[in-house]
């Protein structure tokens, strides 16, 4: 666990970057620090590995004040991923990844062997090992950056806008892979971003900062969408909060109606369309009970007959949800 205990950072020019922040980043979870520029999120992140020292207050990792620890040794135990990856241009991909193990006293050979395994872990084949950073795309560089941060298997990782320099398609892919990786590894991660959608998508916990380095709200992504603490958070989280919050609930408890007559099934029982007069309209997609309420809502809205079709694991239709049933369910859920 990383703990901020009443941390203040005032810069010599007089600006207050971080204003009495107390915050706990739970072990094994991804905590996202998010906010507009100049809100102190990056300053806070950098206080965790002593790149910046607080003016007052303490930062603790697993209960130990980091102020008394040797800076370099502390940092070798904390993975660090930076925007644009910050890779060493003069070192091959493999040697970039091997950096921290070598600093920790491993032989180059040992470190390189381990680095090869890590490259595979972040989705880069062996052929990239001997390349230099300038020979990689932005997304590939970012993967190397993540591999380099993981190389010494640190329990804590800091990520400073790790995905903001790549295009949206690549970012989407990196998000998916990163979430899968984190599911396996369970690192204690602090990530900074200015992108609230990224924060909601990746974070287990989201800490929203406002201008002047003040914490506005610390909550799970769902709580942020459903119950923003104030107007600033509501505005920062943005429009469509209601719809977006449906992403966090599955359709497991959503009651379904029996299959209506106008639903066309193929011989295997899979839905193939809606009968309408002499023609058959497409279903536009189906959902399973593990899909999100957001998907169900979307299907109901876009369906030509205002009805979403549920299928089981084999793809067989086993129930439908109509517009008004969905509305009733959401209203009842809100009331409870």
């Amino acid at each position: 666990m990383i703990t901020f205990d009443d941390v203040v950072k005032v810069y010599p020019g007089g600006g207050t970057a971080v204003d009495h922040v107390s915050l706990e980043l739970p072990t094994g979870k991804l905590t996202v620090l998010v906010g507009p520029s100049g809100c102190g999120k990056t300053t806070s992140l950098r206080m965790i590995n002593r790149m910046i020292s607080p003016t007052s207050g303490r930062v603790l990792i697993d209960g130990k004040d980091i102020a008394g620890q040797d800076e370099a040794l502390l940092r070798r135990g904390i993975g660090y991923v930076i925007q644009n990856a910050g890779l060493f241009p003069h070192r091959t991909v493999l040697d970039n990844v091997a950096t921290v193990p070598v600093l920790l006293g491993k032989t180059r050979r040992e470190a390189r062997t381990a680095a090869l395994g890590l490259l595979e872990r972040v989705g880069l084949s062996e052929e990239f090992a001997k390349r230099y950073p300038a020979q990689l795309s932005g997304g590939q560089q970012q993967r190397v950056g993540v591999a380099r941060a993981l190389a010494a298997d640190p329990p804590v990782m800091l990520m400073d806008e790790p995905f903001s320099a790549v295009d949206p398609v690549v970012r989407e892919q990196l998000h998916r892979e990163f979430l899968r990786l984190q599911q396996d590894l369970g690192k204690t991660i602090a990530m900074v971003t200015h992108d609230i959608d990224e924060a909601i998508k990746l974070g287990d916990v989201v800490a929203i900062f406002r201008q002047g380095g003040v914490l506005a709200q610390v909550a799970t992504p769902q709580e942020l969408l459903v119950a923003p603490a104030d107007d600033f958070v509501a505005e920062f989280v943005g429009r469509d909060r209601g719809i977006r919050s449906l992403s966090f609930d599955t359709a497991a408890e959503l009651p379904v109606a029996a299959l209506p007559d106008d639903l066309v099934l193929d011989e295997a029982g899979r839905p193939s369309g809606w009968r309408s007069g002499s023609q058959v309209l497409p279903t536009g997609g189906t959902f399973t009970s593990s899909d999100s309420l957001r998907l169900v809502t979307d299907l109901a809205i876009t369906s030509p007959v205002g009805t979403a079709v549920r299928v089981n694991g084999d793809g067989k239709a086993d129930g439908v949800v109509r517009h008004h049933d969905l509305a009733d369910y959401l209203a009842a859920r809100r009331a409870s």
Partner: protein, 216 residues
């Protein structure tokens, strides 16, 4: 020409050897001195501009004046090769200190920052990361310094020691073109070969620069 070469081969060889020593010893000394001086100009940013200015002034002193003036300061004999070595070392430092500082300053801030964040201490970061990344800039400066030294050594002939430059003074004294031609050709060849060697070294130690600029 051939006759001249065969009759004077010993003199020419001696001149060439002296020329190489007088030009390259200062390159090595100057480079070693310029590294810490240039680093200071980066470590303490307020030192950078004074450093650049002093270097500029030193480099603008005419070489002949320095050759003649140094014995007074150093207490050396006017004909001592040490004067040439010291003078050229000063020029090399003046050129390279700025190059080293500029090279180190050119290292991407994100690169030094991520090195620090990964747990490099200052000195090891300098040796393992900053200097290697700055090497292309520094080696480019080294090429200029080397070629410049090779041409400056000849000026030393005017005070009696100047490697191949002695062939020029001899030729002028005798109104005889051959030694002058040989001196010019060997100087140019020497400069070319020295430059080529540095380029080859640069290729060997900075293989990554070939990929800069374009992404594969």
């Amino acid at each position: 020409m051939i006759t001249y070469l065969s009759n004077n081969s010993e003199i020419i060889w001696a001149a060439l050897r002296q020329h190489i020593a007088l030009a390259l010893i200062p390159v090595v000394l100057g480079f070693l001195l310029a590294l810490p001086i240039g680093y200071l100009g980066v470590r303490f940013p307020w030192l950078y501009h004074p450093l650049v200015n002093v270097a500029g002034v030193l480099y603008s002193i005419p070489s002949l004046a320095l050759f003649v003036f140094l014995p007074v300061v150093l207490g050396t004999k006017i004909l001592s090769p040490l004067n040439i070595v010291v003078a050229l070392t000063i020029y090399t430092v003046a050129l390279l200190a700025r190059t080293v500082a500029d090279g180190l300053r050119s290292v991407d801030r994100l690169v030094t920052e991520s090195a620090t964040a990964m747990g490099y201490r200052r000195f090891r970061r300098l040796i393992d990361v900053e200097l290697p990344v700055a090497l292309p800039v520094i080696l480019a400066g080294l090429r200029v310094a080397t070629v410049s030294n090779i041409s400056l050594v000849s000026v030393g002939a005017l005070i009696g020691i100047g490697g191949l430059g002695q062939l020029f003074t001899r030729g002028f004294q005798l109104f005889y073109i051959q030694p002058i031609l040989v001196g010019i050709i060997l100087s140019v060849l020497l400069a070319g070969v020295a430059d080529l060697i540095i380029v080859l070294i640069q290729r060997a130690v900075t293989p990554w620069t070939r990929f800069q600029g374009g992404r594969a």
